[in-house]
């Protein structure tokens, strides 16, 4: 969202209660929307962006509300102490739940949130000291310097101040180092891990962030209503919060507030109109919400907010100069430190007799080879030769059956993807794994994740700007290095496949690796795109980078590599310079099925590749 619509929104919020004749009911409704918005902002981060679906945010609202209700009535303490107790209890509950559920696949979290919401609902309803089903009445108002916020109008300002603060922290969080990690959780968890992102940690952060906002909403709710009872913290309310997010937006904090407004207004209207149409008591809003959410999921996956903003931005066509790298706020940031690089021609990676068996099938049969610093080594072979399995063994995706992999004198066997990234090995993926909704620059900045340490708390309060600037500048430098500086601000999903592959290389470079592992980098590229990629990789080698690539395209490999390892049926059948490999009987046999020698010698690409062999 641009700056001025936010200012208009804040101005409107500030003015509404001051307009004479505004019914009290409106203010109450806006208060309810504000309180729900807090919960929904948390859900946008947790569920919309992070992909962790919680149906039980009402639990945390309940904990926040009951904590302050109990402390301020039974013990006659200040609401501010109630706030502290509520947040502490929310933190504790969220932390415990996170430890139990976040290591499992997502639907367990969702089921657990439903179960926990029900548990707490029945606990409130049966615990004598919490007033059982009657709840706790007579909660005092919040006071500021002795001035109690008794009126709907007065607590209105507090509520919306907190909502705007929460929106600000939410936006800060999403646009930061932690935010990029959270955004990778939904569709790119494995990818993020291979850049050293400890994804579990960021799941916990997103979960706790959402829980604390819900707890805060509970505190406001208790002091706005001045009474609490179990019914408003039941599972249906938890589900409604999620619906607000789904209907509003899965990506935008403002969209979350919009969703809360839509659902609550709709609910109010339905409860107003339905009894006039049907004489019996019905829960008509349940039917409407159910159908609405199914329709939104079918036809507007990202929620209704993008449709609204799309409509407005088509009204006010945006013009003006586009941001460029030189004019960006981060352009003067200090450069990131670089790791010490291995000496040229020293042995970087040694693969010693690695073996992988799937049951009785030997996919990789005691393969040996090594990669020296400053070399491009190609791993080739016909379909089903075991190239990708070998690649997965080296990148830690698959465990070894036997053998050893040594990188700069450190054994890699049983290292996780994260640890491998920390050692300075960066990789690309056979199917490009960029986050399509994020800009190219941010995608590349994710690669530099390990090179700065700004945590979530600092980013919430925007105290991470130095680190953030350095990371973005590094990303820009790497994009420049691969020749994509011009596409920096485009969404990664809008790039052509060829450019996406090069962005993957830039992201890998942002890790400051001493070894690049590229999994079929030329697959699916057009001829010109392949040439561009080859030029980029060749330039990287000239700068001293070492590269191991798995590839199908013979022409591409022959021109580019210093050294080739050829596999067939899981076994290494040849190794040597491209020129040697081209003459190798076994290789020709494997690729061409033992055709007449003369035919092979006459094959034009082979001859051409041989002539171009300048690096070997």
């Amino acid at each position: 969202m641009k700056k001025w619509p936010v200012l208009v929104f804040i101005l409107l919020l500030a003015v509404v209660p001051l307009i004479p004749g505004v019914p009290e009911f409106w203010i109450n409704q806006l208060n309810a929307i504000g309180i729900a918005s807090l919960v929904v902002i948390g859900l946008v981060v947790l569920t919309g962006v992070g992909g962790l679906t919680s149906f039980g945010q009402a639990t945390f609202v309940g904990v926040g509300a009951y904590a302050t209700a109990w402390l301020t009535t039974v013990h006659a303490q200040s609401p501010w102490l109630g706030l502290i107790l509520g947040i502490l209890l929310t933190l504790l509950l969220a932390f415990v739940l996170a430890q139990i559920t976040l290591r499992l696949s997502g639907h367990y979290l969702s089921l657990a949130t439903i179960a926990v919401c029900l548990i707490f609902y029945y606990l409130y309803g049966n615990m004598p000291f919490l007033g059982r089903h009657d709840g706790i009445p007579g909660i005092p108002p919040i006071s500021f310097f002795g001035y109690p916020l008794l009126q709907a109008q007065s607590i209105y300002y507090l509520i919306w101040f907190v909502v705007l603060l929460a929106a600000w922290t939410g936006i800060n969080l999403l646009n930061s180092r932690s935010g990029r990690a959270i955004r990778s959780l939904k569709n790119g968890e494995k990818m993020a891990q291979s850049f050293g992102v400890h994804t579990f940690h960021y799941k916990v952060i997103a979960f706790i962030y959402a829980a604390v906002l819900a707890g805060l909403a509970g505190w406001l709710y208790a002091h706005e209503q001045r009474a609490v009872s179990p019914s408003t913290f039941g599972i249906n309310y938890g589900i409604e919060y999620l619906f607000m997010m789904v209907v509003g937006s899965v990506a935008s904090v403002w969209g979350g507030i919009f969703g809360a407004a839509v659902i609550l207004t709709l609910k109010d209207q339905i409860q107003d109109i339905a009894p006039r149409l049907f004489d019996t008591s019905t829960n008509f809003e349940l039917i409407v919400f159910g159908v609405l959410v199914v329709l939104v999921l079918h036809h507007a996956r990202d929620g209704l907010w993008p449709i609204v903003t799309g409509f407005f931005s088509s009204l006010f066509r945006k013009g003006g100069a586009r941001e460029t790298a030189a004019s960006s706020w981060w352009s003067a940031a200090p450069l990131l430190d670089k790791k010490e690089k291995p000496q040229k021609d020293s042995t970087l990676l040694q693969v010693k007799a690695i073996r992988k068996q799937f049951g009785g099938l030997v996919a990789v049969n005691d393969i040996d080879f090594s990669v020296n610093a400053g070399q491009i080594v190609g791993l080739i072979g016909p379909n089903g030769a075991g190239k990708s399995t070998t690649f997965n063994l080296i990148t830690g995706v698959l465990p070894l059956t036997s053998g050893a992999i040594v990188f700069r004198d450190k054994p890699l066997a049983s290292a996780t993807a994260e640890e491998i990234a920390r050692l300075g090995i960066a990789r690309s993926f056979q199917h490009t794994q960029l986050l399509p909704q994020m800009s190219v620059l941010e995608n590349v900045a994710l690669g530099a994740h390990l090179r700065r340490s700004a945590g979530a708390l600092r980013s919430l309060l925007r105290l991470d700007r130095q680190d953030e600037a350095a990371l973005l500048r590094e990303a820009a430098i790497q994009l420049e290095r691969v020749g994509l500086a011009g596409s920096m601000y485009e969404l990664a999903g809008n790039l052509s496949l060829g450019k996406q592959r090069i962005v993957e290389v830039a992201r890998a470079l942002a890790l400051d690796p001493s070894l690049l592992l590229l999994d079929e980098p030329a697959a699916g590229l057009r001829y010109l795109e392949k040439q561009e990629l080859a030029a980029v990789l060749s330039a990287l080698r000239d700068e001293g980078m070492s590269i191991l690539l798995v590839e199908h395209d013979m022409d591409f490999v022959m021109k580019l590599t210093n050294h080739l390892v050829v596999m067939d049926f899981g076994t290494k059948i040849a190794e040597g310079t491209p020129a040697q490999i081209q003459q190798n009987e076994k290789v020709l046999q494997a690729y061409l099925g033992g055709l007449d020698d003369e035919v092979i010698v006459d094959e034009p690409p082979v001859g051409k590749a041989g002539n171009n062999e300048v690096h070997a």
Binding site: I100, S105, L111, A115, N126, I235, T282, I287, G290, V294
Partner: protein, 345 residues
Amino acid sequence: MDWSIAKILMQDGIVTGVIYALLAVSLVLVFAVTRIILIVQGEFVTYGALSFALMADNQVPGNRWLLVTGGVLVFLRELWLVFRGKPAATLLGSALFCLILPLAVFFAVPAVLATEPSLWIKALLALLLVVPLGPMLYKLAYEPIAESSVLALFVVSIAVHFAFVGMGLVFFGAEGRLVSEPFFDGQLELFGLTWTYQSLFVIAMTVVIIVALWLFFGYTLYGKALRATAVNRRGARLVGISTSMSGFLTFLLSSIVGVLSGIMIVSFISLTYETGFMIGLKGFVGAIIGGLMSYPIAAAGALLVGIIESFSTFWASEYKEVIVFGLIIPVLLILSVTSRHDEEE
């Protein structure tokens, strides 16, 4: 508590537990084949139970309108798909299932009820009224986004659950219902306990359904197709098992299981339009104990849920739901520890 009370509680627990077990097996089945967490399974139970209860009272259940409306909507969608290039020959089957069957049931229910039929006929009518809703639901809510993530499908399930609960209130009203007239009258002594024929009937029915499912999956082509889909969705599609067919069939099975459970459970527990959610979730607790994968463990887990529920009703009836749903926490903890192992291996 002495031994005799324990035995009675155990008996109670087993009778409800077998029904939870049935639901748990069906939930695992739906999840394995379609990746859908079928929260709405609980509503199949209440819709089946409450239509049965209304008919046992000689009233015509209002949900016959839902059957017709749902049928028309599915048929319109099929028409649209034919317009978009689906073979027109499929329309005949759709018309039969979406228009003829619902309309026939719509008019048959009051006509048959007027003849004051036996409880068995009423149970059959309840099946006819509610079971087609399962496949219709799949066609309308899930099929258009069948390839979405597990979590998106889960949100759809919750939304559908909302809509079904809302409509349930319209059709069945807010009061709880129980069918006091049993299928079989009488009782017998076994293991020092008195068993009504009705409770033995429930246990026997469950066993029959589980054996029927086992035969279906083991020995029929469609059953094998569903198993193939559960093991490898893409592979199954490559050999011609359509996602749409397996979804339709799975939902048919799960709504049959749901409605039968409802008809059985309403003979000893009073149900309201909302109760299905809780019953379904208890099935889920069982299914989760089986890691949403293993049928026997899910069934055993659900049986355990029934027994624990029965004992906690005796010891701490107010906290019975807390105890039952609290079971999920240690289970998830164990799953979490063991699954981390798997990833590292």
